[in-house]
């Protein structure tokens, strides 16, 4: 038995030598099967054990076990060296030209600057506790004009060049988002704190006017709202959007649905009030109209105009987007050119 063991051992040594020349995992496994497998040489030795004298069996068994342990250890060692060889091969492959362009399988999209501006505005107003409201773009004269204190046949109606519907003489394309004031007040009771962004339409088209544009309407109604609150809210949000260091200015103006009415100016974001092309040398940028809700409007929606006061504002989103992103051509916003639009991000 001792001889047989020695023969197996030297057999293993020679085959091991071959594998060591080229330590591939496949060869290591073949070696393992040849010696430790079900029909391997070690198993063969164990089979032989049955034929020898029982008194010699313990001794012989010990020898075989020693040999098996030895071969197992050797094979383990071979395995790990084969593994490191493989790892080295994977590691040592040719370097890539990392400067080659990607195949653009994940092209970047973009949101329209007006949408980005809308995101900013809604975020700021929700922070100030406002609810966002939406409604129709085609609306009755009642919501767009008469409930907002535009008297029939009054030149105030000429302030907004209105698109009328052909087969519905009492309907218009809303000229402002202020129609949402009426919708909201007819549906809700104070306290009200809403903003309503959306598309608006006027039949006017030149370098600085497009027949469709975007506004955001605001409406705050409660029992003790003052012009000071109006100044405070608008100032807070403009500064949040354009920067804390800019001055704002409120001056009187007229819109039929507010009294007292005004316009809000922001110090020019470009020249900071010195006067430049963007602000037409005035140092100020007109942001929009606002004022205290006219008692006639409250009465049109059955609110008690003695009990409630409130303010409303309507600002141009397109204008604000142009200021924020420093754009010079209003018309380009609506041409759908991907080269221009594609440069904007997905998040504001």
């Amino acid at each position: 038995m001792k001889d047989k063991c020695q023969q197996v051992s030297s057999d293993f040594a020679s085959q091991q030598q071959n594998v060591l020349q080229n330590p591939e995992p496949r060869l290591v496994d073949e070696l393992r099967v040849a010696f430790l497998g079900r029909k391997g040489q070690i198993t063969g030795l164990m089979e032989n054990l049955k034929q020898i004298d029982p008194s010699e069996r313990p001794e012989a068994g010990k020898l075989i076990n020693l040999l098996r342990k030895d071969i197992e250890e050797q094979i383990e060692a071979l395995k790990s060296s084969a593994q490191s060889g493989e790892l080295a091969k994977v590691l040592n492959k040719d370097a890539l030209d990392v400067s080659l362009p990607i195949a653009d399988t994940l092209p970047k999209g973009s949101l329209h600057p007006v949408t980005l501006m809308r995101q900013v505005l809604l975020r700021e107003f929700r922070r100030l506790g406002f609810t966002v409201y939406d409604g129709p773009e085609l609306d009755f004269d009642f919501y767009n004009f008469s409930a907002l204190n535009f008297k029939d046949d009054h030149p105030a109606r000429d302030m907004q060049d209105t698109f009328f519907l052909k087969n519905r003489p009492d309907m218009v394309l809303r000229t402002h988002t202020s129609n949402l004031q009426v919708h909201a007040m007819l549906r809700e009771r104070p306290p009200l704190r809403i903003v309503a962004p959306g598309r608006t339409y006027r039949c006017d088209s030149d370098l600085t006017h497009t027949p469709m544009f975007h506004q955001i309407e605001g409406l705050v109604v409660d029992q003790n709202i003052s012009m000071g609150d109006m100044k405070g809210i608008v100032d807070k949000f403009l500064k949040a959007v354009f920067g804390e260091d800019l001055q704002t200015r409120l001056r009187p103006s007229y819109f039929p649905f507010v009294e007292p009415g005004g316009e809000f100016d922001l110090q020019c974001v470009s020249c900071r009030g010195k006067g430049c092309r963007i602000c037409k040398m005035t140092g100020w940028l007109e942001i929009g109209g606002l004022g205290m809700v006219h008692p006639n409007v409250f009465e049109a929606v059955d609110y008690d105009s003695e009990k409630f006061t409130g303010f409303a504002f309507g600002f141009g989103i397109d204008r604000m987007a142009m200021l924020k992103y420093n754009l010079s051509d209003l018309r380009q916003l609506f041409e759908g050119n991907q080269q221009f639009l594609g440069q904007f991000p997905v998040y504001s």
Partner: protein
């Protein structure tokens, strides 16, 4: 409104203030300054000079060499070609270095060998008059060396004010001056109409009778007779003032009426008495088929909605809008009737609109005029005519005479409104707690209010007749805050209940939908929703199709924008063309916006019933709005995937875009919002006539219409000039079915499956007509399903060897159990059962 500062200074003294401060004050009053124009007639010096010697030019018969004294130490030598240049004449001298109108530079020169230092000017050369016939002959008493620009008030600053329609009082200079006077606390100077110039023996009523047919058309009509009129040009200063205010000087009479209109805001008209037949002026409605040629030379067909001024026979003026040609003041007019009236604002506005006239008069009447000032205006204009005539005649001719009394017709004047003002309300609205009742009274008095009665916290005020915009207490509050200064309002934040208004989740959903679309790699566009009749034709949409039920505008800007779109594809196609025009390939654009439909009195043919999801109000509409009969607005999201899908790269050849790329985009977008139950089915070609009938699918979510995806119809591509061999992919989805999916409650695995999945691949041979969707359908009905988790198609194979009209589809099947590791036997059993099921349901054979 153009305001000449020279002129405004007649009513309030502003000479000491820099123009910037005046402009700022006006803007702070709500009279927004939109522009400031400095008018300089010329640069350099043009002075009054006197010719002290005029000699014939030695070398030219028609030229004279003059020595001209301009008040300097030495006389100037000036060669002049005018025949009227003569000794002692006072002349206009443009000095060397000045530049006259028309960019005419005056230089020292030599004319036929004689040196000349300056120019003697004609009225035309100085743009003072049209007179080019010789040099100007100035008045003898003009001091030598006087600046002509100053003498003729040619230097002026014009302030352009953007007047809001409520401030009718500021359509006259006095109104603007009154606001400034109140704000700056300076006196207002209103010209007196001087009674003493009137001729008591002249009676208006012996020349004219006035009849008003309907008192609601005309509240008051003043007629004032004048005779000994001489129609001549107005003085230069007045002509310049009118020009600077934007009006054309015509003659002294017309100029005077315009001047007083700009001064007071009250339109005035002057008639030639000879042209008023029958000695009567009637204010009445026009008769049917009556016509009138207005001063602008147009013949107008009138109707019973127009108020006219007529004599005994015919209309002689369109009341409040424009006078008639037949009664205008002419060069030989000697007797006039001055009309100052008050007309119904609404009717004047309608007449002006109907006839397409926007005159200075209609602009004022339709906003409302001050009925209380008509008589004083008539006297003022008559006095001005007299004064101007005197100025022009220089005492040599008889002056016009004014009748002793104007003829006043009309109902009793309305009482002035009286409004109570409460101090606590002023403070509450303004947020200015420091205002006192006395402040309020002071401010309102400075604007012409009278206070009638006061208690500690309340005052009753009478509103002046010219402030038609002050109707309620809130209007008084605005005046007080305006004069006090908006800048003095303190900044505060509202003290209110937190409250809670639920927000329509659709709003935020749409914003998120856009973000998702952009994340998929699309670029958002925003387009105008207008389309034209030609677009509908090119889109091949038949008259009875739901997408042809357009909302039509009554007043489109252009024909191509007559309708509102019914599909985003109509707008997206135009954007696609724009991108192609700019050489942008493979554009991926999308828009999320509304389509508009007019379904009133529309019956949808059965062929289009699948589109009935369109026929409901959008969920953006809430409350009362939903109960009204309106055109429909539906929020949609649509996009274009242009060719190619991917440009060639160093790794891959160019990949053309096909239907499946579009389907992938739609699927990814919808799955992001939990819409798992998707189906894509072939369309009936009539359903979407602008889409390719063979490569377009109807998209349904949970069996409900949601939109479509596919190739553009080749005819449509061709009609728009696109290459029909390489069709772009379009898709459009109605937002609301997607949004509704976000509210669907679904069952989620409470934890990940712990036991390993087992996969098996099969290939089955099918008839060509059996689609992948049929297989999916069949699998979903496989009732012995126990462990099958997923079925994924990985190959489509066609070969004649499979048999005619046969194809092979290969699927990878995944089996998994939540509570054990599956054995081969269990998997085989279920796989065989599935194959049996497929054989029975779709005649599938294992390949």
């Amino acid at each position: 409104m153009r305001v000449s500062l020279n002129w405004l200074n007649d009513y309030i003294s502003l000479q000491d203030l820099p123009i910037e401060q005046i402009a700022e004050t006006l803007t702070s009053l709500g009279l927004e300054v939109e522009g400031i124009e400095t008018l300089e007639p010329w640069t350099g010096e043009v002075l009054v000079g006197q010719i002290i010697e005029a000699k014939r030019h030695p070398d030219a018969e028609k030229l004279q060499v003059c020595q001209v004294d301009v008040g300097e130490s030495a006389a100037l030598t000036i060669v002049c070609g005018a025949a009227n240049a003569r000794q002692d004449l006072k002349v206009a001298v443009a000095k060397v270095g000045s530049t006259l109108p028309g960019d005419f530079k005056i230089k020292a020169s030599k004319i036929r060998g004689e040196k000349s230092f300056g120019m003697l000017c004609s009225g035309k050369e100085l743009a003072i008059s049209e007179d080019a016939d010789g040099i100007m002959e100035l008045a003898e008493d003009l001091p030598i060396g006087t600046s002509l620009a100053e003498h003729f008030q040619l230097r002026d600053t014009v302030i352009e004010i953007g007047l809001t329609p409520n401030r009718t009082d500021c359509l006259g200079y006095i109104g603007i001056a009154r606001d400034l006077a109140a704000k700056l606390k300076r006196p207002l100077k209103v010209p007196d109409a001087e009674e003493n110039k009137r001729e008591p023996s002249l009676l208006t009523e012996s020349h004219i009778k006035v009849e008003i047919a309907q008192s609601e058309d005309c509240g008051r009509f003043i007629a004032l007779y004048m005779d000994k009129i001489k129609v001549q040009p107005s003085p230069l200063w007045l002509q310049k003032r009118l020009e600077n205010a934007g009006m054309r000087p015509i003659n002294l009479i017309v100029d005077a009426t315009n001047y007083v209109m700009l001064e007071t805001g009250q339109p005035i008209h002057a008639y030639d008495l000879r042209d008023i037949q029958g000695g009567v002026i009637r204010v009445r409605r026009a008769k049917d088929k009556e016509s009138l040629t207005t001063l602008d030379g147009s013949q107008r067909q009138l109707s019973g909605l127009d108020i006219v001024i007529s004599d005994a026979e015919q209309a002689i003026g369109l009341a409040g809008v424009m006078g008639g040609e037949n009664s205008e003041v002419k060069t030989d007019t000697t007797e006039i009737i001055i009309e100052v009236a008050h007309f119904n604002a609404s009717l004047v506005r309608k007449t002006a609109k109907r006839h397409g006239i926007h005159s200075e008069a209609s602009h004022r009447f339709e906003r409302g005029t001050d009925i209380h000032q008509v008589e004083s205006v008539a006297v003022r204009v008559a006095s001005l005519i007299q004064d101007l005539s005197q100025e022009q005649a220089a005492g040599q001719e008889p002056l016009p005479r004014i009748a002793g009394k104007a003829l006043e017709t009309g109902a009793e004047l309305p009482a002035l409104p009286r409004i109570a003002l409460r101090l606590p309300r002023v403070r509450q609205i303004s947020g200015i707690s420091t205002l006192t009742l006395q402040d309020c009274i002071d401010y309102m008095e400075s604007l012409g209010c009278k206070y009638l009665d006061r208690t500690e916290e309340r005052v009753v005020l009478e509103v002046p007749s010219w402030r038609l915009d002050i109707i309620r207490e809130i209007d008084l509050i605005e005046e007080i805050v305006r004069l006090h200064g908006y800048e003095k309002i303190p900044y505060s934040l509202p003290m209110m209940e937190i409250g809670f208004l639920p927000e329509n989740t659709l709003i935020e959903f749409i914003d998120q939908l856009k973000v998702s679309m952009a994340e998929i790699g699309f670029h958002e566009i925003i387009s105008f929703p207008f389309i034209g009749p030609l677009d509908l034709e090119k889109f091949q949409i038949p008259q009875d199709h739901p997408y042809r039920q357009v909302v039509e505008l009554a007043n489109p800007l252009v024909e191509e924008q007559r309708f509102l779109r019914t599909s985003l594809s109509q707008s997206l196609l135009k954007a696609l063309l724009e991108n192609r025009r700019h050489g942008i390939v493979g554009s991926r654009i999308f828009e999320c916006a509304r389509n508009f439909y007019e379904f009133r009195s529309y019956e949808c043919p059965t062929a289009y019933q699948e589109l009935k999801g369109l026929f409901t109000y959008g969920a953006h509409l809430m409350g009362r709005g939903r109960e009204e009969d309106r055109p429909l607005e539906r929020n949609c999201i649509g996009g274009v995937l242009d060719q190619p899908y991917r440009l060639k790269t160093w790794q891959q050849a160019e990949i053309p875009a096909n239907f499946y790329h579009g389907k992938a985009v739609v699927t990814k977008l919808l799955r992001s919002f939990g819409a798992d139950d998707l189906s894509f089915s072939p369309i009936n070609p009539a359903l979407l006539p602008w889409m390719h009938p063979k490569t377009t699918a109807l998209v349904k979510i949970a069996g409900e219409w949601a939109g479509y995806v596919g190739e553009l119809h080749p005819h449509v591509a061709d009609a728009f000039g696109l290459d029909f061999q390489s069709l772009p992919i379009f898709f459009e989805l109605d937002v609301e079915p997607i949004w509704r999916q976000t509210n669907v409650k679904r069952d989620y695995l409470s934890a990940a499956l712990r036991f390993p999945p087992v996969s098996r691949d099969i290939a089955i041979i099918l008839s060509e007509h059996v689609t992948h969707a049929d297989i999916e359908q069949s699998v979903s009905q496989f009732n012995r399903r126990k462990f099958l988790k997923d079925v994924r198609l990985f190959d489509v194979f066609r070969d004649p060897k499979l048999g005619t009209d046969k194809k092979s589809l290969a699927y990878s099947l995944t089996f998994q159990s939540p509570n054990k590791t599956l054995t081969d036997k269990e998997v085989e059993k279920e796989l065989n059962a599935l194959l049996d099921h497929l054989r029975e349901s779709v005649s599938a054979e294992l390949r």
